[in-house]
């Protein structure tokens, strides 16, 4: 099998997998980075969201062969000890229900805040509508994004 060099959370990895293996499964099965979730496999739900050179992308739809030259960030690398303002806001506002979609939500929201530090509700609609929450935590997600944008004050 071919080898691929990846840069994930500022660390280098080499994996021995088929070229068409989605980055999602490389992260989960080869590298044991299980924070990134499998939800649909066709980039419809956002549970697999990671950062690809800072842009939020769906790792289920990126073959490993296309990921070798990018700086990839997963939830594990988003912050030291879970202290990103979004993670803090998520905890303060008790956002999660089942929790399965939340990593994807946070990764998408983090990319949004990098580009738009003070997003409007419309910005949030546009950026976040690719992430499904089956449990319906959307009102809390929206509130948490606003709170994180305000520097953690509600």
């Amino acid at each position: 099998m071919p080898k691929f060099n990846l840069t994930i959370n500022n660390k280098s990895f080499t994996v021995d997998v088929d070229a068409d293996t989605p980055l999602l499964w490389v992260l989960r099965d080869e590298l044991e980075l299980k924070g990134t979730k499998f939800g649909c496999g066709i980039a419809q739900c956002g549970a697999c969201t990671v950062h690809f050179n800072g842009t939020a992308v769906r790792s289920c739809s990126i073959p490993v062969s296309a990921a070798t030259k990018a700086k990839i960030t997963t939830i594990e690398g988003l912050s030291e000890s879970g202290s990103h303002p979004l993670q803090k806001a998520w905890i303060e506002l008790d956002v999660p229900q089942c929790g399965y979609c939340q990593v994807g939500q946070i990764m998408t929201a983090a990319a949004l805040l990098e580009k738009k530090p003070k997003p409007t509700d419309d910005d949030i609609d546009k950026a976040m509508s690719g992430n499904i929450c089956r449990c319906g935590t959307y009102p809390r997600i929206r509130k948490a994004i606003h709170q994180a944008a305000k520097g953690g004050k509600s």
């Binding site: 979730k37 499998f38 066709i42 929790g99 399965y100 992430n131 499904i132 319906g136």
Partner: protein, 749 residues
């Protein structure tokens, strides 16, 4: 107690009497007796004092909590956590009576162990069922700790008190931490009827407490079933017969076996019981992607089941025939036929509801390690007890040697009351002689679900000359889920319609009839089973009658319920009765909070609905505005609930917001269509769920109540579709008689 769980059609897997060895019996006072499905009794084991030889230095007066000499307080979360918040709320109950600060405790998932009583997630029962038991568990431990301190000080117990993990001597600076009392407390007898706190003294119950797993969730470190695969474990992906009730005709696995990483391919024969194994071919591989790829390379010919090929069309023909015909009479008060003769107005409508998929965010998956004389299984399930029973029946290993570990569950909604995917993992592990994780794709999940039943309903109602509702006749026909799980089910209507539901009992002439439709399409419990359709029907049609009577929809419901407060019988889950006072209260509160009686601004339209379910009361108002002539936006929802005592204020509101959004999502977008004997929909591109941009603001109000706590996981969902449809009527003058909502297919009313 047994019958309460069975009414839900939930098989928890606790039929088997498992005997405990004597040491376990003495060490731990809690015991789930034979046939005890719900709850657990604390037994006063005076003998424990003399004979206990604990294997640890911990204080463990019951299965629910341990206090270590170093002061750590560990509380066990007994039920599967599927997002409904019980991993937090059930420990809250224990912590309250134990008199520890919330910050002092650690919560661990309990193992599947009969000593906990029934461990399942279903019917919104956990808080209601476990409230007293868990309070007693915490209170008993606290009393023993107080007694231990009293002994050490040589005073009476009533001269001491406990607070935040410490025992104090009254009028003194003397104190002990719980950790310091562990050894002494472990020698004491366990009080059978400990004194419980007054609810006005609660400092944990009733507060907004963040979920215990939140930090782990937001850092991606919490363990869902899919995450629980150890490195190196094999993965299986199964190509299942797409035709419900079908079989394998022929398999060519040559190409599949050539795919890198694929180890083995094995056929799976369908079980006789359609809630267990479906015909399929399993590809076992070294990792998930290889298993998926190998499966794509299979060449399989399938055989449809005997009989006519199933489709929406042939189901609809059967529904139509049934609702025009007679049907089993479920309830009959007065005489609807003669009443209709004398009514001033008689109005009729036919409603249609589709199959719905559950689609929890975490696709189905399960791990099994079947050995010759023991079995280890773990993964996401709502019924770990049922998984254990299935493991025993598939492997022949005794239940005592079967270890079921619960992981966090990425959404349940009733899907994971079925353990078919666990059966698959057990079957495959046994066949290949190795541990394996079975992983479902999203397509598998949407196409091999146990759907919310489809059905048609004809409702006819009549008003007298005073515009009072005097007659109501409903004929229902659905693909009953009761008869799917059990072909010998004697009461197929039990899971589909509720004879004591409003307006039954408030209308002098009432008749309810039901006819099931037999189908291979798999059906199961979907959030608020039965109610997720009946509340839509009842609250839509009562709204139609209100409009005909030219009365305000809220007033019409209040009039129909009557000025006098009544206790009405409710002979189903959530009963045995309900209070019209509590129902009218949430109705009036919802009207108040939404400014219902004030005219809506131009272009804004509102709809109302209310419901009693599973012991609790809900009233909702939906406010919409029209964007263009054929598009509307849901701006806001008010949700008022009386569920008795609220354990976790934040968790409660989260559940209600979630139920509202789930119900709106289903009403707006969701249906699974059957054609050619199989499902058409396959993934989120054609089975649409509500997204951020369409999610309204939700304002929740919880009635302040000291009544017994009732569950909220399903509560907000049933009436929301009707509230939305009634808002659409306000905006268009037309009715929604078919779900999901299609503005091109509204009915003139």
């Amino acid at each position: 107690m047994k019958s309460e769980v069975q009414n839900l059609g939930i098989e928890t897997g606790y039929e088997v009497n498992t005997s405990l060895n004597r040491r376990d019996f003495l060490k731990v006072s809690g015991l789930a007796g034979t046939g005890l499905f719900i709850g657990i009794s604390l037994i006063n084991t005076n003998t424990a004092k003399a004979d206990t030889h604990s294997t640890t230095d911990n204080f463990e007066p019951n299965v629910f909590l341990k206090i270590q000499p170093d002061g750590r307080v560990i509380i066990m979360a007994k039920n599967p956590e599927i997002g409904q918040g019980v991993k937090t709320s059930l420990p809250q109950i224990i912590a309250e009576e134990l008199e520890v600060a919330w910050e002092q405790i650690e919560v661990e998932i309990a193992p599947l162990d009969n000593r906990f009583g029934a461990q399942f997630a279903g019917g919104s029962t956990a808080v209601h069922t476990n409230f007293d038991t868990l309070r007693k568990a915490g209170a008993a431990a606290k009393e023993m700790l107080i007694q231990a301190a009293a002994k050490k000080w040589n005073v009476r117990s009533d001269q001491c008190y406990a607070k935040a993990g410490m025992v104090y001597k009254s009028n003194s600076v003397d104190k002990f931490s719980y950790g310091e009392l562990v050894a002494e407390a472990s020698t004491l007898p366990i009080p059978e009827n400990p004194k419980l706190k007054d609810s006005k003294d609660f400092t944990i119950i009733g507060k907004a407490i963040g979920g215990v797993d939140n930090k782990a969730i937001v850092t991606g470190t919490v363990e869902f079933g899919l995450d629980a695969k150890p490195k190196g474990m094999l993965v299986a992906s199964i190509e299942r017969c797409p035709y419900y009730g079908g079989k394998i005709k022929q398999v060519d696995d040559t190409a599949a076996l050539k795919v890198t990483g694929v180890i083995q391919v094995i056929p799976i024969e369908a079980s006789d019981n359609p809630t267990m194994l479906v015909a399929g071919v399993a590809v076992i591989a070294k990792n998930t992607w290889a298993a998926f790829k190998g499966r794509k390379a299979l060449k399989i010919e399938w055989e449809l089941p005997a009989g006519s090929v199933e489709s929406d069309e042939n189901l609809k023909n059967q529904f139509e025939k049934n609702i025009s015909g007679a049907g089993q009479v479920i309830r009959e008060d007065g005489n609807v036929d003669s009443a209709f003769q004398t009514c001033s107005v008689v109005h009729e409508g036919i409603f249609e509801a589709p199959f719905l998929a559950h689609a929890p965010m975490e696709p189905q998956n399960y791990i099994a390690d079947v050995k010759a004389d023991s079995v280890d299984v773990w993964g996401p399930t709502q019924v770990p007890g049922r998984v254990r029973s299935i493991a025993a029946s598939l492997t022949g290993v005794a239940q005592e040697k079967i270890n079921v570990r619960m992981t966090r569950v990425g959404g349940g909604f009733g899907r994971r009351l079925m353990a078919d995917y666990a059966a698959e993992a057990i079957y495959v592990s046994k066949a290949i002689g190795k541990p394996v994780q079975v992983v479902w794709t999203r397509e598998d999940d949407i196409q091999h679900d146990f759907y919310r039943p489809a059905g048609m309903y004809k409702i006819k109602a009549g008003l007298d000359s005073n515009n009072k509702l005097v007659a109501w006749h409903i004929k229902a026909s659905t693909t009953s889920r009761g008869i799917f799980s059990n072909p010998n089910e004697t009461n197929p209507s039990r899971t589909e319609v509720f004879p004591d539901g409003f307006p039954a009992g408030f209308v002098p002439n009432f008749k309810m009839q039901y006819t099931p439709v037999v189908s291979h399409v798999p059906r199961g419990a979907w959030r608020a089973p039965g109610h997720n359709v009946t509340a839509w029907l009842d609250q839509s049609f009562i709204d139609e009658m209100a409009a005909i009577a030219k009365k305000d929809p809220v007033d019409f419901r209040l009039e129909t319920l009557g000025k006098e407060d009544k206790i009405m019988p409710y002979r189903d889950h959530g009963g045995p009765e309900y209070s019209t006072k509590r129902l009218k209260n949430v109705i009036q509160l919802a009207a108040e909070k939404s400014s219902w009686y004030a005219p809506a601004p131009s272009g804004v339209y509102r709809g109302f609905a209310c419901h009693f379910m599973f012991g609790a009361y809900v009233a909702e108002v939906v406010s919409i505005s029209w964007q263009e002539s054929n598009r509307f936006k849901i701006d806001k929802v008010w949700c008022v609930v009386d569920c008795g005592i609220v354990v976790n204020k934040s968790g409660a509101i989260n559940q209600l917001e979630g139920g509202v959004i789930d119900g709106l999502s289903a009403a707006l977008n969701q249906a699974v269509h059957i054609e050619g004997g199989k499902a058409k929909e396959s993934n989120f591109n054609n089975y649409s769920l509500l997204r951020m941009k369409d999610a309204p603001a939700v304002e929740v109000h919880l009635v302040d109540s000291q009544e017994n706590p009732e569950g909220l996981g399903e509560m907000a969902l049933p009436p929301i579709a009707a509230a939305l449809c009634n808002a659409i009527y306000a905006g268009t003058g037309k009715r929604v008689r078919k779900l999901p909502i299609d503005l091109e297919q509204l009915t003139d009313s």
